[in-house]
Amino acid sequence: MSSDKEEQKMKAAKPTKAAGPEKAAPEVAKPAETKPVPAPKPAAPPATAAPPAKQEPEPPAFEKGLAQELVAKFGDAVKILYIRPIRIKVETGPSSIVEVATYLRDSMGFDHAESASGTDYPKENQIEVNYHLGSYTRDDLLANIIVLTTKANRDDPRVPSLIRVYPSVEYHERETYEMLGVYFEGHPRMERFLLPEDWADIPPLRKDFRIKGR
């Protein structure tokens, strides 16, 4: 199971703080990324979908080219989670996210970030941070969105801030910080933004925060 090994390797490469036992089990919520495909990773972009997940059709050529360009440049540091018409999702480790984002901006034309957000996965003890990157200046990319994603340990989520690459993430990262508790290292103001000043509970978008009465 060579890909299992690779997955272990990727996990080991992340600066996780000796978290709980991280299983190499596939996450339920992410379709295309799961399955062990014995093929060498760089050449095989999205791979086959797991049986219960939605069947991914053959990826369109243009988007496939973009994904392959990334894989050719960064090799094992990036993992293509899916390729669909005008949407690509790329996972990378926290250690290489700034480098990948800089490359996306300077060499591939993704010149702005539409949003930064996060999703809590308590079962895997991880928080996924998503950046939606788009382009205003390259005509053939106008409709394309690259979802750049990285995973942080839920017990102490820290990822590098992309604010020096994409200034537009300033408020989005602050919102993610207070809503999910992800600390963005290098952001000049990790402070409260939307929540009340006297908020004294856990970050509300975490799954263990329950709305009262529900």
């Binding site: 005008i86 957000s117 999703t119 200046t137």
Partner: protein, 386 residues
């Protein structure tokens, strides 16, 4: 320590709020909002050096309702009525992209007539929102006629939407799979009549407001956002198009039947407050043209909605879909784990993205220009807070 001028320069260059410790004694701090009549449910702190704004710190969140969290407790249909609360004046657009994303996730096809009707409803609703915004922009620049006229003409489209959906402002009309009900009898003709009348009115708006020397003096050349900075700050909608980038989701990523409509993306190159206030006006004109074509091409009869099972659910997965709302791109990132309730819903709204331009544009301008700059950003505080 850097001088004040250098710090201002740095702030402007980065678009960040790095001016944290300027020599306080020279400066006066003003809190604008949340009760201030000019800011909406929103507050920002500014520091002025004489007449000039040298620092601005937005403080949103007064109308934060936790929409994204609420979505995780209701199924995809139950989510619709509360999701339109952030922008009740543009409620069809905020549920439009939600419906598109859910349809993507569940693989639902929308009947052709349904696609046309919801595109028409979203155009009507965009007019309602833009007129409301224009009314407020007018009154805060001291032009009370420009408050009365759009606020009155807004009723034209509210009347149409009321006939179409049964409600004046919050319609809950779009649902995954199509629209709730078909068009009433005679709607098409009434719609065409209203558009014809409204186009006449638009000419009068231009004469009384946009061509008025006083208005132009207050807005032309004020707070210029260059093309490069607009891209860097990631602004969207009319703010982006006013800076010379013809980017409209209806054009670059046509959803439903927009690829069958022939229209031009309206944009200007100057990037000042005037351009930011004029581009929505041009959009209104173009929208009349779009509506005529949609009404013309719409099939005369047919289904308007694909019926879903109660408590619909789809396979696990995620989707990200956008539409062009009155304030720019409006996107939903929905993650599903295969249950009827969404696992995570992220709403990416134009107001929140354009907010970043506020400190950037205000710093270096006179205090008296603040309303002209703030309202030109097409900022809707409730939508930004969600």
């Amino acid at each position: 320590m850097a001088t004040l001028e250098e710090k201002i320069e740095e702030t402007r260059k980065l678009g960040l709020q790095v001016v944290k410790e300027i020599e306080e004694d020279r400066l006066m701090t003003l809190s604008v909002g949340p009760q201030h009549p000019g800011s909406g449910h929103f507050r920002f702190t500014i520091k002025v050096d004489g007449d000039y704004i040298v620092y601005c710190d937005p403080d949103p969140g007064y109308v934060h309702r936790g929409e994204e969290k609420m979505c995780e407790y209701r199924n995809v249909i139950q989510n619709i009525p509360h999701l339109e609360r952030p922008v009740i004046h543009d409620s069809n657009n905020i549920t439009y992209s939600y419906s598109l994303a859910v349809e993507d996730l569940m693989g639902i096809q929308v009947p052709r007539r349904g696609q046309f009707i919801r595109a028409i409803a979203s155009e009507l609703n965009r007019q309602v929102y833009t007129l409301y915004w224009l009314a407020i922009y007018g009154i805060f620049l001291g032009h009370s006629t420009m408050f009365m006229w759009p606020a009155g003409d807004r009723e034209l489209f509210i009347d149409l939407l009321e006939r179409l959906t049964g409600a004046r402002v919050t319609h809950a009309y779009n649902i995954p799979g199509g629209v709730r009900n078909d068009m009433p009898e005679g709607f098409k003709q009434r719609c065409l009549d209203h558009i014809r009348y409204f186009e006449k009115r638009l000419k009068e708006y231009e004469d009384i407001f946009y061509n008025m020397p006083l208005f132009r003096q207050r807005t032309e050349g004020v707070a210029v956002l260059s093309k490069e900075d607009a891209v860097k700050l990631g602004v969207t909608g009319s703010v982006l198009r006013a800076s010379g980038i013809p980017y409209d989701i209806r054009k670059v990523e046509p959803y439903d039947v927009y690829n069958e409509v022939d229209f031009k993306v309206q944009y200007m190159k100057t990037g000042d407050s005037f351009a930011r206030s004029y581009v929505p006006f041009l959009d209104m004109k173009e929208s009349c043209n779009i509506m005529r074509q949609l009404l013309d091409k719409m099939p005369e009869s047919g289904e308007v909605r694909t019926k879903l099972q109660p408590n619909p659910k789809g396979p696990p997965g995620e989707a990200y879909r956008r539409v062009e709302s009155g304030r720019g791109a409006l996107g939903y990132h929905i993650v599903s784990d295969g249950t009827p309730r969404p696992y995570r819903v992220k709403i990416s709204v134009g107001s929140f993205r354009n907010l970043l331009a506020l400190p950037y544009l205000l710093v270096g301008n006179k205090l008296a220009d603040m309303p002209a700059v703030y309202w030109s950003l097409n900022y809707w505080p409730v939508e930004a807070d969600r």
